[in-house]
Symmetry: C2
Amino acid sequence: MTLLAQQQEILNAVEAGFAKQVDFLGQLTRFPSTRGEESAAQQWMSDAFAARGLHVDRWALDHQELQHLPGYSPVLAPYENAVNVVGTSHSKTRRGRSLILNGHIDVVPTGPADMWSRAPFAASIEGDWLYGRGAGDMKAGLAANLFALDALAALGFRPAADCFLQSVVEEECTGNGALACLHRGYRAEAALIPEPFNETLVSAQVGVIWLQIRLKGIPAHVAYAAAGVNAIEAAFPLVAALRQLEHEWNTQTDKPAHYAKHAHPLNLNIGKIEGGDWASSVPAWATLDVRMGIYPGQDLNQAEQAIRDCILTAAQQSAFLRENPPEIINHGFRAEGYSLADDRSETATVAIQTLANAHQQVSGKALQQEAVTATTDARFFGLYGGIPTLVYGPKAEHIHGYDERVSLASTLRVTQAIALFIANWCGLEPL
Amino acid sequence: MTLLAQQQEILNAVEAGFAKQVDFLGQLTRFPSTRGEESAAQQWMSDAFAARGLHVDRWALDHQELQHLPGYSPVLAPYENAVNVVGTSHSKTRRGRSLILNGHIDVVPTGPADMWSRAPFAASIEGDWLYGRGAGDMKAGLAANLFALDALAALGFRPAADCFLQSVVEEECTGNGALACLHRGYRAEAALIPEPFNETLVSAQVGVIWLQIRLKGIPAHVAYAAAGVNAIEAAFPLVAALRQLEHEWNTQTDKPAHYAKHAHPLNLNIGKIEGGDWASSVPAWATLDVRMGIYPGQDLNQAEQAIRDCILTAAQQSAFLRENPPEIINHGFRAEGYSLADDRSETATVAIQTLANAHQQVSGKALQQEAVTATTDARFFGLYGGIPTLVYGPKAEHIHGYDERVSLASTLRVTQAIALFIANWCGLEPL
């Protein structure tokens, strides 16, 4: 068989299995695998790996093991239910290049369900779209990894190198799930993560810092409001100061090259607030969850210090906060940026070219690269494992929003591209 | 026995029973009778009334019955557990003037318990102070009402007119508990409420409006923050506009006379906020609970409309809020102001004089009057029942704050003054 004919067979095999894949994706999306609730979905992934004869490895994350590793992010929640699953396709010949196919099982909260036009975890399909929290970010990617291997198996093949299918937790808040895979010894010559970036290759990603600001006020009956200090309103000028810092970082003249043309690469977000408990009591506390982006190459510790200084300097403007400064807690991401495009190794170059070929073969178009304003787990493999990592996945809309949805046609193409990538990167050997 | 000698006996009898009263107050304070959790404490009050041979009436509040009455305030919570208790001391002779002795059993939330130097419901005593959420506001007053009658009973007397001991719910958010008493037919020639105003008589009280502002934004992954609208930050300019309105109302030149010398009678409070659920998702909703004071005589509907207009006008400044205006919900107080000092009836005059005499007898000082910046249930009896209502209670500190506490010496004096007031207002008859 010619190479081209074999490639066409692979594309056909993915298409032949796609109805099953969509069904699988629907079932996976129906698990409401938000933070702390991932275990049922992980059991499902584990069963799916085992049913295909992959070697299955499951383990719970452990703060003690991870906390001194580079890339670790602190969280306040326990990790009893935070379980990673890896299914390994062992090669007999090991002729080719090994590969990690990674994806995350955790999804962000839905927000008020009544704001969705469909139940957030119903996984309903309308036209080309499959709807659901996590459908795009990134259960479609998890399914694509698995069904790409299935298509090769349907043709009687498996990768001619070890191939590790990883379903990890904690991508959305720390990345400690991917870190735990690395720490457990999983290594390969390249990694691929089908995050939903619309069939473009991520050339660079920002770093992300999460901080929790805890303000105390002085509670009082509102009748004596002058005797109290309102902790909710005390937060407002701190937010204004952070917006100013965001503006400065985005308009600095020495932005990294990948983001030079980007109007606003670093986004600040006040993502959550809680304060007070009674309309007629001056609120004595307020808690804000803050996210800030940083550039690849920007020193994480310095950046965090600059954010902390910004908050504390703004607090100096208030007579009360001067004496009762806000507590600033690390609570989630301490993520550095990562740039695949800066990896000049031959391995990286070949990996990118191999994916570009697969993409061209499937879509008839050249592979576009994009520097993105989010983080992904790619940083662990790239920065701390020396593994060039390709982030390339389907088209999705409204991720982290209402009515999140993923394009099925795009998911099919991405699955085909992944299958071709495996065939050409790892090579194939008979089952 | 001379009148003076009898009065001294009453003071002595209150003092003799005060150890028991403090014990009772401690036990009552240990019930965490926050909104929705009042029933155990009401059972305790009911048992205490029954043990004294009072006729006990208990009933659950009913929105359907109350909602068309003047003074009703809407709430969103159900009323299954909202039970009022009234104990009636029936007179045989009915020679004197009837009296309502009212108090509320509900207490506001404690806030974070670790901010208290003592457990909020432990009711620990240190020196002259009994500590606890609700100890001052107003379980000390509930106990004072009951033990004033006990002291008279210890001397072989009861009031020579019907006397109604009311323990009501909902004072802290609507007043619907007191309204339900009125609607049930409880009437008397005067009412007394021992709210903790430091042994001064409340001459006037403000009205209070609670509103809940619900903002929607557009959720998005923070990587695409420009595609989202942050509902938390959308609230900030609305709060600024409300602060401006508060300033205007407090500085208007035609303040009612009772508040003319008051620097800041009307307090705005942003008492509670909740918004968003994930640091890296642009928050799509925020909810603020707002309290605003109004003057006695200020039209409630007009005032509420002015507040609503203020919020909606500020919202017009935002392109997004212009298209998606905040929802403004009635959710708690729609309370008019009330001024006892404006009640020129002979009944009111005599009631005030009777209390002033009692206060003088106990404390050796003239009774001070004060226009207060809070609301109380007095408005129901005064405005809708035509019953002059005396608000006069013990010294307390940090009500609605941490380490709320009530002075025991003050509670003793107030109980003595109430006992004298009953003796002189209702007269006494043998048991």
